[in-house]
Symmetry: C2
Subunit: 127 residues, 2 copies
């Protein structure tokens, strides 16, 4: 049994065997950068809460103000506002003022696309 140097990041397991190195290389090439990975998780995590998903789904039909979203999604005004702030910060929705109302809409077709794909997937799996 040889001594592991402190700098070695490799493990003594099947992953280090010759026959498996090409699989690891291929995977490492496919794996996006940490920066991209982070951005993707930010997008998906924005879509991974029921309140936010309801808000976004509601906005698929057209723009709505906060209290309309409150009605449709059946959550408190505060909860809607908090989640809208998160969605704004992550660039998934945009807001405009209309007098006292703050009217929200989906930011772009990317968002629309992701929601559609998600719903399609959910509808097809486990039927």
């Amino acid at each position: 049994m040889d001594i592991k140097t402190e700098s070695s990041t490799h493990l003594e397991c099947c992953a280090t065997q010759e026959t498996n190195l090409c699989a690891i290389d291929a995977a490492e090439c496919t794996l996006p950068s940490d920066e991209i990975i982070y951005k993707v998780t930010e997008i998906f995590s924005a879509l991974s809460d029921s309140t936010r998903l309801k808000i976004l789904s509601s906005l698929m039909a057209g723009e709505l103000c906060v209290c309309e979203l409150q009605e449709v999604c059946e959550v408190s005004q505060s909860a809607v506002s908090h989640q809208l702030r998160l969605l704004r910060d992550r660039g998934l929705v945009r807001a405009r003022r209309d007098g006292q109302r703050a009217v929200y809409r989906l930011a772009d077709d990317h968002v629309r696309h992701l929601i559609v794909i998600g719903i399609e997937h959910a509808s097809e799996v486990e039927e």
Copy 2:
């Protein structure tokens, strides 16, 4: 000022005004059922953690065993196994035994599609 009945779910805000009722109706029609909403959040939340996303991205290039994933994703064996269990439970990956190794692969093209879209979106936004 009239008294709110306890049974009333409606609020005295702009959402209840005639001019806005059709927007609410449209949104309510677009909004998927709670069951679908739940399934969609389950899918997106599975994709919203960096370890899991690295695992899934790695598997885009082909199947890998646990210790290979451990190498590529640079996380502990325990962390990989725990996350693989979650991904298995949610139907995003499938496993097969190969001697001592447990070899994992993406479950289907839906998963592949979602990851690709997510990465595309992340790559295009904020450049």
